[in-house]
Each structure stands twice: as structure tokens, then as C-alpha cells.
């Protein structure tokens, strides 16, 4: 709350990204506007015999390029290391000191919080599978836990085990920044970082923090992650053409493309941003969260939860459906999502549905799972900044059932005043954040 009892306005004063299209904002943005794809053959592990052999990896990333004390993060899982790089960029832009016990930025560390949508670190697969192989008797179908433990106790490493925990990216960011405000981490599947950003906005509005370091970090490009998604038949199997595999809203879409990365936004109360005199990139004006309460395996057929999340975000922003210019879609390139998301957009935007500009950058970047919403929100901020909306690439054979304006293949120059970022998680958790061009 501000001194006069009004809710704080929440603005964005820094952004940072580590993703398949680059390790900094401008590289990513130029690649995105150029219609590039971050998808290629998987190299993190040997996926050559998997039903899907490609993914959108972060390549040639080195956390040591971002920090003075890389040792502190050396055991971090991929997500944690990505989070550190993205947070360094965002904090620099926002003028928040990092890696120091004596910050000179004038910000009380108790007033800086962190909220990430972050996922697990990869298991040590040699140890994980090796221990199972050692313990399992395939004739009796019985596990000998002593044999299992003999291998596990030697091959599993303590720090690697600790770093698998989903709260570790947030832990690394508190060490990096010294933040002592509310520090949270959530994992609502593909909606996690949109949720984190929304809840972080609420923390500032109610006065629990002046600054929240929000966003997400995740990598599920590991054997068990890919096994899980392949078995769910959720991934594209277009192995002969990885770069065109992520093709949201097309008739030929056959699943999403697994990606990885981290995206961080610095959220700040308008009062604090003005006091510090930092540049304001955009304002977060609305947040909505809902659950499908339908099935863990499928989205609600009519998009009930998606509609509710969008409508509550619009209401929270004090807007009507007539005010939104741009929807940055969840747009995963699965048969189910793209069709239900389209239905939900139509239900929310009514007679305006076909005028609404909708695009999915997962076509370029792949699906960053827990980090997806954060990365996509950043592209909304850039769309507002530069007056250009990124395209949905690979959209050459539109699904005749899906008839919105999906910005096919070429970015669109247009004034974006209000953009909506929507994310829908497996199991039916839906989150929507609305971002607006900043005006005093």
C-alpha cells in the first residue's frame, strides 16, 4: 500500500533472458523478429533413438560470463545457472547491485523479494538408471534395495541431489542479490512463471516488497523429462525438420518442442521506481489465476478455466475486453491447446476476436515449460517498446478451424498499448498477466 492507502502500481524496470535464441535481450529479440528458430538436434544427451530427437537448447552458455563468483553457482542445475545469467542482466538494467554485502543502490534488501516459477534439476542419470539396473531382478521382478543402494550411495553426488530441488534457482538468486523480502518458488507446470510474475505483482501491490525479482527458470531437456512427454505424445516428432516442428495454429501441428531457459523481470512499485529515477519499461496492470477442475489429462473442452483466468485478469486491470491490443498466446503447437485456446479467446473477446492480434513465440523458441511465461512476457514488453509484434513462424497451412489473426510468419508493426500473456499448465492451472505501456 502507498501512504494514502491506495494499492501500489507495479512497473517493470529490468528484464533479462537466457533462452534458445540468445543469452541477452537484444540478441533474442532480433532473432525472434528475424523469424529464426532455436530448435535443433538434441545435444544435451543422446536422444537419437527417442521418438523425438530435437529440442530448443540453450547453447554455449557459461554462467561465469555473468558473475564474479561463479564458484557459488557451479553446482547449480541448468535452470539455476540460466536464472543467474538472466537475473544479472535484469538487475543491472534496474540498477540493483549484485554480488556484494554492501550494496550502494540504496535499496533495503528486506524490501527486495524473489518469485520464480522454476522446475527441477535433471537427475544424475548414470546413477539413477545404473542403480536400478544393479538392483532389479528381471526374472522375479523384485528390486534388491541393498544392491540398488550400493550403486546409488557411490554414484549419486550430494550437491547434485540437493540442486535437483525446485527451490534452488530461487536460492541462487537470493545469494546473488542478497534479497531478504518474500522469496517464493512455484511449479504450476507450463504456467509457473506467469503465476510467479502475477503473484509477485500482488506482493508489491499489498506492500510486502518494493521490488520483486520475478520470472522463471527450467530445463526439462533430460532423458526422464523427454521420456515423460514422449509417452504423453505431447512432443512433435517432426525429426526430419526440427526448425519447422513448432508450428502453432497449423493444420499439421503434431505437438510442442521442448525448450529450456530462464527469464527474469524486475517488478517495482511505481513509488520506488520514481524515487530511484530508473527507467520504466512497462506496467503490470492485471493478473488472473484459475483452475480447470476438469481432468489431469486434458484441458476443459470449452476452455472454461482459460476464459476465467483471462476475464479475471481483465477485471483486475480495470479494463474490458475491448481494451486489449495483443495476446501473446500459450500457443504450444499441440492439437488440443491451440484449438481450445482459440475457442477461449473467442469467448473472451467476443465480436472483437478476429481483430485481436495473437501470436505464439513458441514457434521460434520452443516451450520453456516453467520459464515459458516469463520469456513470453518479456517479448510483450519489447513489443510495447518497439511497436512491433513478433510473428508465429512456420504458419503456412493454417488449421481451417482456427481463424484468428495469428500474425503468420512476419512480425507486425503496430502500436501495442496493452498486451496479455496467457499460460495454461498441465493439469489445468491457468494464469494470465496483462502488461501496459507505461504512462505517468
Amino acid at each position: 500500500m502507498t501512504q494514502n492507502g491506495k494499492k501500489e502500481r507495479v512497473v517493470i524496470t529490468g528484464i533479462g533472458i537466457v533462452c534458445p535464441l540468445g543469452h541477452d535481450i537484444e540478441t533474442m529479440w532480433q532473432a525472434l523478429l528475424a523469424g529464426k528458430s532455436g530448435v535443433a538436434k538434441t545435444t544435451i544427451f543422446d536422444a537419437s533413438t527417442f521418438p523425438t530427437t530435437f529440442s530448443a537448447e540453450v547453447k554455449n552458455y557459461d554462467v561465469a560470463k555473468f558473475v564474479k563468483n561463479p564458484d557459488l553457482h557451479k553446482n547449480g542445475n541448468r535452470g539455476s545457472k540460466f536464472a543467474v545469467g538472466a537475473a544479472v542482466q535484469a538487475c543491472r538494467q534496474a540498477g540493483i547491485n549484485i554480488e556484494t554485502e554492501n550494496p550502494t543502490d540504496g535499496i533495503d534488501r528486506k524490501r527486495i523479494g524473489i518469485y520464480l516459477g522454476a522446475g527441477e534439476g535433471a537427475a544424475n542419470h548414470d546413477a539413477f538408471f545404473g542403480a536400478i539396473a544393479a538392483g532389479w531382478d528381471n526374472h522375479t521382478n523384485v528390486m534388491d534395495w541393498t544392491k540398488w543402494a550400493d550403486v546409488a550411495a557411490v554414484q549419486m553426488r550430494a550437491m547434485h541431489e540437493l540442486e535437483q530441488e525446485a527451490n534452488m534457482p530461487a536460492a541462487h538468486l537470493s545469494m546473488l542479490t542478497g534479497a531478504r523480502g518474500p522469496i517464493r518458488s512455484c511449479l504450476t507446470a507450463c504456467a509457473a512463471s506467469t503465476q510467479a510474475t502475477g503473484e509477485a505483482t500482488m506482493a508489491i501491490r499489498r506492500g510486502d516488497a518494493d521490488i520483486m525479482i520475478a520470472g522463471g527458470a527450467h530445463s526439462m531437456i533430460h532423458p526422464l523429462g523427454q521420456t515423460g512427454f514422449n509417452r504423453l505424445t505431447a512432443l512433435s516428432k517432426r525429426n526430419d525438420s526440427p526448425q519447422t516442428a513448432s508450428r502453432p495454429f497449423t493444420a499439421s501441428r503434431d505437438g510442442f518442442v521442448l525448450g529450456e531457459g530462464a527469464a527474469i523481470v524486475i517488478l517495482e512499485s511505481l513509488t520506488s521506481a520514481k524515487k530511484r529515477g530508473v527507467k520504466i519499461l512497462a506496467e503490470i496492470i492485471g493478473y488472473g489465476s484459475s483452475s480447470d477442475a476438469f481432468r489431469v489429462t486434458d484441458m476443459h473442452e470449452e476452455g472454461r478455466g482459460a476464459i476465467q483466468a483471462m476475464e479475471s485478469a481483465i477485471a483486475d486491470a480495470g479494463l474490458t475486453y475491448k481494451d486489449v491490443n495483443y495476446v501473446n498466446a500459450h500457443g504450444t503447437s499441440t492439437a488440443e491447446n491451440d484449438s481450445i485456446e482459440t475457442k477461449a479467446i473467442k469467448a473472451v473477446f467476443k465480436e472483437r476476436a478476429k481483430q485481436i492480434v495473437v501470436s505464439s513465440i513458441k514457434s521460434s523458441m520452443g516451450h520453456l515449460i516453467g520459464a515459458a511465461g516469463g520469456a513470453e512476457l518479456i517479448t510483450c514488453v519489447l513489443a510495447i517498446r518497439d511497436g512491433i509484434v513478433p510473428a508465429t513462424i512456420n504458419l503456412n497451412d493454417p488449421d481451417p478451424q482456427l481463424d484468428l489473426d495469428y500474425v503468420p510468419n512476419t512480425p507486425r508493426k503496430m502500436q501495442v498499448n496493452i498486451a496479455m500473456k496467457e499460460s495454461f499448465g498441465f493439469g489445468g492451472q491457468n494464469n494470465v498477466v496483462i502488461v501496459k505501456k507505461y504512462q505517468d
Partner: protein, 438 residues
């Protein structure tokens, strides 16, 4: 306009002491320990062979008939959440879809859910046939896995192990359509989930929230992990009852277990209007982090915990003088217990000598994401009955711990109770409950 008041109108627990909150509370009051030698798998080669296991149950009895098929998609973590939520909802008198589809007395869109979850490990046995198919010369061969092994993994395998599935299953069973979140801050997840759900109601996004945490730690992968990080005791394999000794001079580590603790939170107006029984009011929550380069432990002075408690006190607009019970995290890990004791002492100052501190893990074991939910349920019942049970296994207080650990059960008029927690990785939280007064 004052802050919307949020009260607790239902409680549910499943723990090594019993399948309900009542049984759990009886066990706590009787000073029973739920810690035993592990039976789920042969622990002979584990440095800690003890755990808090939950007794047998039939999950089908806790879900509506139409949902029985979906129980096949539930890992134990999910089952624990479903069982604790079932008790909490029934206890609250709310009639959700699961309770009686004909008499629903809630608006599903005005209900929220927030269940803290751990990093669920799959059951190695479940993947073993697929691994066996993927061996070359006895070694795991990833190419064989991709080609043949993978097909032996059940198609919906992943859905059992996503942490958000606790909230999703409970949400589907009870038809909860409002805001939904899954806090994954390891051992402080339950506390934070309750804090955040309180905020969701306070800001008007819902009238009712199902909140807490659940986790099944008794899994060979997870127990091995804790053994390797050296957070478990390895000195008590022949003395299960005395194994977990929070704040005791002879403490040597924690013991892990299965559990779930869930509460129904409700906007006071809503609760009053429907004539609900009100256990307690959530009057203050606070959160921060410990920062320690050795991040499997919290910083030696527990400062992150001090901040969380101070924020909760400030929000509740009370001073330490008003607190009559503290349930700490108290894991039995000596250096963490000491840091926690210092962190609490710094927040409550002169009241350190007076305020009874009652750690529960010597009896409940360390149930990870469930800890906060179970401790809040225990605090609610302590307030209701005016009883603070005795701490178990704190025979001689550790040097440097100045807390007033309750060694004998006592009657007490508990005006305010504080539950606090922390986790490896540093996140901390404090939740203050107030005995309900109109």
C-alpha cells in the same frame, strides 16, 4: 477499510501418527513417535534406516466413485494431499462436489487452492522393467532406452510426478475453479502455501481456500538424497523412538517421513454467514530467506527466520508478549536447530524465556512440504484444547539454544501461536494464528 479477516474452518492431517488430524493430535499429546525402521524398502545399506511411514489406507475410500479410476494416476504425494483435503473439507461443513453433488453450498469459482509440494521422486521399480530392457553388457544404454525401454513406461507416467498434480487432483475432486498454485519451496512449502492462500482471500480473489502441503519422503531416492547431504541421523538405527531430537544436546540429524496437512481458510464474513465453526484466525504471515553459501544449511544466526517472524508480528500488529506458543521447524539437525533457535530468539527477545516452544518432528518426522500444514493443524488443536503437549527427546537442551522447549505437557490459554519454518536453499516463513474472537 481494514484487512479482510481470514479464518480456519476446517483441518485435515495424515501423518505417521495416524490417518486423521484427531489421531495425529492424540499421538502428539501422548508423546508417541511415528518413527520406525523403514518397511517400504530394505534400508540395510542406508546410513539412516528410519522413517515416519503412514499406516495402510485405501485411497478409493477418499474419492467420489466417479474419480476412482483417476486414483491410478496418483503418486503417494498426491494421495496424501487428497486424504488430508478430504478431511479438511468435511470438517469445514462445506459441501463441495465431492461431498454431495446434490447439495453443493459453495461457488466453485470463489474457491482457491494452494498446496505445497516437494520434488516428487518416481518409484524406481516402476521404471525397472524399462531399464532392464535398455542394458548393453549390463550397463544402461540410452540408445536402447530411446528405442525399446521407453515404450515400456506407462503413457501417463509423468503426470504422477508433476508437483502441481497435488493441487490439480484435489481441485478436480472438489471442483475448485478459482486461483490455484503449487508452492515448491521444499520444507517450507506448506507454510508459504498457507500464507499465500490467506493473501488470495484477503485481496478478494476468493472466499475459501484449501491450503497446506503434502509429501511422501519415504522413497529410496529421496532418503538416499538426504543421507548423502548428511541431513539424516545415522546414530539411532536401533533406537527409532529416540532418533529425532530437535534442540537436544545429543541430536545428530533428522528423520524423514510421509504426511499431509491441509486447512480450509475462509473469509470471516463467509464463515460467519454460514455459521461455520471457527478454529482460529490467520492474523500475520511473513517471509524471507537465509543466505548462506553452504546452502544445505541455514545461516548460523538464522537471520532470515528473524525477518520472517518480525514481519508476521508486524502484520498481526502484536508483540512477542502476545505469543503463547511457538512451533518451530526443529529438524534435529544440530547446526540448523541452533541457527533456528538464534533466529527465533532475535525476533522474540526477552520473551525467549517465557514462550513455550514445541517442536513436533521427534514424533511426526520431517515430512518436507507437509511440515507447515501439519504444524498449523497442530497449533490449531493446541489453541482449541488449551494444551501444549511435551516436546519429545529434548532431554538436555543443546548449548547455545536459549528457547523454552516444553518438556512437560501443560494447559495454556493460547492467545496467539506462531508456526515457523525454513528450508535448505534458505526460504523462510512464519504464520501467526490467533484464538478466534468475534
Amino acid at each position: 477499510m481494514g484487512r479482510t479477516r481470514v479464518v480456519i474452518t476446517g483441518i485435515g492431517a495424515i501423518s505417521p501418527l495416524g490417518l486423521t488430524s484427531a489421531r495425529t493430535w492424540e499421538g502428539l499429546c501422548a508423546g508417541k513417535s511415528g518413527i520406525k525402521r523403514i518397511t517400504k524398502f530394505d534400508p540395510a545399506k542406508f546410513t539412516c534406516q528410519l522413517a515416519g511411514e503412514v499406516e495402510e489406507y485405501k485411497i478409493q475410500q477418499y474419492v467420489p466413485k466417479s474419480f476412482r479410476k483417476a486414483t491410478k494416476l496418483m503418486s503417494k504425494d498426491i494421495e496424501l494431499a487428497v486424504i488430508a483435503a478430504d478431511e479438511a473439507v468435511r470438517d469445514s461443513g462445506l459441501i463441495t462436489k465431492a461431498i454431495d453433488e446434490q447439495k453443493i453450498n459453495v461457488n466453485p469459482q470463489r474457491m482457491a487452492i494452494n498446496i505445497g509440494a516437494g520434488l516428487i521422486s518416481c518409484d524406481p521399480c516402476e521404471l525397472a522393467p524399462a531399464v532392464a530392457k535398455s542394458l548393453s553388457d549390463g550397463k544402461f544404454d540410452i540408445q536402447k532406452w530411446g528405442k525399446e525401454g521407453l515404450d515400456l513406461v506407462t503413457p501417463l507416467w509423468l503426470l504422477k510426478y508433476l508437483p502441481n498434480m497435488l493441487a490439480c487432483h484435489v481441485g478436480i475432486i472438489h471442483d475448485i475453479q478459482g486461483p490455484s498454485n503449487t508452492i515448491t519451496c521444499a520444507e517450507v512449502s506448506g507454510h508459504i502455501a498457507i500464507a499465500e492462500a490467506t493473501e488470495v482471500i484477503a485481496r478478494g480473489n476468493s472466499d475459501i481456500a484449501i491450503a497446506g502441503g503434502a509429501e511422501a519422503k519415504v522413497n529410496p531416492v529421496l532418503i538416499m538424497r538426504q543421507c548423502l547431504i548428511k541431513r539424516t541421523t545415522n546414530k539411532h538405527n536401533n533406537d527409532a523412538e529416540g532418533a529425532c531430537r530437535p534442540f537436544d544436546a545429543d541430536a545428530s540429524g533428522s528423520v524423514f517421513g510421509d504426511g499431509g496437512g491441509i486447512v480450509v481458510l475462509e473469509n470471516l464474513d463467509n464463515a460467519t454467514k454460514r455459521g461455520a465453526k471457527i478454529y482460529a484466525e490467520v492474523v500475520g504471515t511473513g517471509q524471507s530467506a537465509c543466505i548462506n553459501p553452504v546452502y544445505e544449511h541455514i545461516e548460523p544466526d538464522g537471520y532470515g527466520l528473524t525477518i520472517a517472524i518480525e514481519k508476521a508480528l508486524a502484520q498481526a500488529n502484536i508483540s512477542p508478549k502476545d505469543i503463547d506458543l511457538i512451533i518451530p521447524h526443529g529438524t534435529g539437525i544440530p547446526q540448523d536447530d541452533l541457527a533456528e533457535a538464534k533466529g527465533i530468539e532475535a525476533a522474540i527477545g526477552k520473551e525467549t524465556k517465557r514462550i513455550p516452544v514445541w517442536p513436533t518432528k521427534s514424533m511426526l518426522s520431517n515430512t518436507g512440504a507437509a511440515c507447515g500444514g501439519l504444524d498449523v493443524v497442530a497449533a490449531v488443536l493446541a489453541i482449541r484444547d488449551g494444551i501444549i503437549p511435551a516436546a519429545k527427546n529434548c532431554v538436555k537442551k543443546a548449548i547455545g539454544c536459549n528457547l523454552n522447549i516444553v518438556t512437560t505437557a501443560q494447559k495454556a490459554n493460547i492467545r496467539y501461536a506462531l508456526c515457523c519454518g525454513y528450508t535448505y536453499g534458505g526460504q523462510t516463513a512464519a504464520v501467526i494464528l490467533k484464538k478466534f474472537e468475534n
